[in-house]
Amino acid sequence: MSDLRELYQEVILDHNKRPRNFQKLEGANRTAEGYNPLCGDQITVYLRLEDGVIREISFQGSGCAISKASASMMTAALKGKTKAEAEDLFETFHNMLTSDLGVTFDPLEVGKLAAFSGVREFPVRVKCATLPWHTLHAALEGKGEAVSTE
C-alpha cells in the first residue's frame, strides 16, 4: 500500500474528486484536444491567451485520477503565467516524471506538482500525468490537430 500512497497522494485524490477549472471556457482563443489511445483518456484544454500571458485556462474530458488531477493542478498552476513560463514548467514536470528514482526536486521549481513525483515508480502511468501538458503545449502552439500520447 505504501507505493500506492506515493502514487495516489491526498492532493491528487482531492483534485480527482473535485477538479478545478473543470468546464468549457467561454471566450477561449486557443483549444486543443488530447487522447491516450491506450486507455481511452480524452481531454480538451481551453486557454485565453493575451499578449503571451495565460489569462484563463480550463479543461474538460474523462480520464483516470492521475490524468484528471494533473489537468486540474496544471490549470491551477498556470493561470497568469506567460507562455514561456508554462513551457518551462512542462519541461520541469516532464523531467521529474522521467527522472531516476531518488532524484530530488527543488520544491520552489515544481511547487504543488511535486505530488506527482510518485508517478515515476509507475512508468505506464507517466503518460496519464503528461497528457494534459502535451495538450496544453498544442493549445499554446495553436496547432489545430489532436494530440496523442502514442
Binding site: 500500500m1 507505493d3 500506492l4 502514487l7 495516489y8 485524490l13 480527482n16 474528486k17 491506450l38 486507455c39 481511452g40 483518456d41 480524452q42 474523462s62 480520464g63 483516470c64 485520477a65 492521475i66 484528471k68 509507475f122 505506464v124 502511468r125 496519464c128
Partner: protein, 423 residues
Amino acid sequence: MRTINELAAQQTMRACSAGFDVERVRQDFPILRQQVHGKPLVYLDSAATSQKPQVVIDAVTRYYQAENSNVHRGIHLLSERATELFEDARAKVARFLNASDAREIIFVRGATEGINLVAQSYGKMSLTAGDEIIISAMEHHSNIVPWQILCQETGAALRVIPINDDGELLIDEFRKLLNARTRLVSVVHVSNALGTINPVKQIIEMAHSHGVPVVIDGAQAAPHLSVDVRALDCDFYVLSGHKLFAPTGIGIVFGKAHLLEAMPPYQGGGDMILSVTFEKTLYNVVPFKFEAGTPHIAGAIGLGAAIDYLTEVGLDKIAAYERELLAYATDALSAIPGLRMIGTAKEKAGILSFVLDGVHAHDIGTILDQEGIAIRTGHHCAQPVLQRFGVPATARASLALYNTQEEIDALVRGIHKVTTLFG
C-alpha cells in the same frame, strides 16, 4: 457471512465440476507459479492473451531444437518432418473445429489478419457500390475497421445490429437490416468487452435464408466453447492461437472450400504459386494460395499442441468449470457497493467487465496490479460498444481454465482496497 445454504450450494458446485481438477491444470502452466509485486500472480487477463501450458512451450522448443526447417520445399529429411508437423497441425485445427477438410484451414497471424483476408479477398471480389455489410454493435475493432476499409474501396455501406442494455443482440433489428443489398454478415461469437455469447447459429440461418454468407469472429469463443463449423454452417470462422493457449502470431481462417476456391489470393509471394513467369503466374491450390511466404511454422505446431492439450483436458469439462466460476465471480463482484457490471447477457462466457463509481478503470488496474492481480483496463479495442454503455473505459477480469475461486476472492479483496483508497 455465508449462509449454510450458500455453503451447501458451493459444495454442490464443486461436485458438479468433478472430473476437472483445476489444481492439476495449474501445474501445467509454469508462468502461474510466479509472484508479482511480492504477491502470487492472479492472472485474470486471458481474454487479452492466454498463458501457455508446458506442452505448448515444449513443442515449440522441440521444433527449434530438433525439427527446424522450411516447409513445402525441401527434399531433405528435416524439411519433410517440418512439413509433416505443420500439416498435422492444420489437420488438428480442422478436427478441432469439425471442418470437413483440412484444406479449409488457412494459417494466418491471428483473427485480425483472418478478417482482413476475408475482407480483401472475398469482400473485394463480391462487393460493389451500394452493397451492404452487417456487423454488430459489440464488435472488436478488428471486425469493424477491415470492413470500413473495404467499404471505402468498394462504395459498400456498413450496417450495425444494435444491442440491448444487457449487451445482447437485437435479433429483430438484425432481421430488418437483412435485405437484397446485403452481401455479407460478420459478427463476433463471444464479445471480448461484454462476454456475450451471440446466437450465431440463428444469425447464420437468417443470413443464409437471404443467400448471404457469414463470417464469425471466434477469437474469444474458441478458448471457452467447443466450436463446430459444420453444425453452425458458417462460411468463415477466424480465431487467434494466442488466446487459445498457443503462441502469438498464429491464427486460422476456416472457409468453406468452394468459397476459398473461388477467391483470389490475399497476398502474393512464395508458396502460394504453382509456377511463375513474367508473363503469367499460376496460383497454388487451397489453402496454400492464401499462405504466401514462409509461415509461422513453430506457431502452428504450438497451436496443434494447444489443441491436443485442450482436447485431453476436455472442452466440455472446461466449459462447465468456467460456467461455475463465472457465476461465482458474477455474484461476488455484483455484491460490491458502487460496482456496475457492463455486459449482463443471459448467455455469457469468461468475461467480467465492470465500472466502479468515482474510480477510473485505469486506477483500478494499477491498484490491483500492486496486489499481483492482472486485469485489462480501457476500451478493450471495442470503443463503439463502450460508447453504447456510456463509459469511456471498463475494468475487465477474464477467466480461463486455470483460474480459481480463491483468485476471484483475491480480486474482490483488491477491489475493496480500491474503494477504500478512493473512498
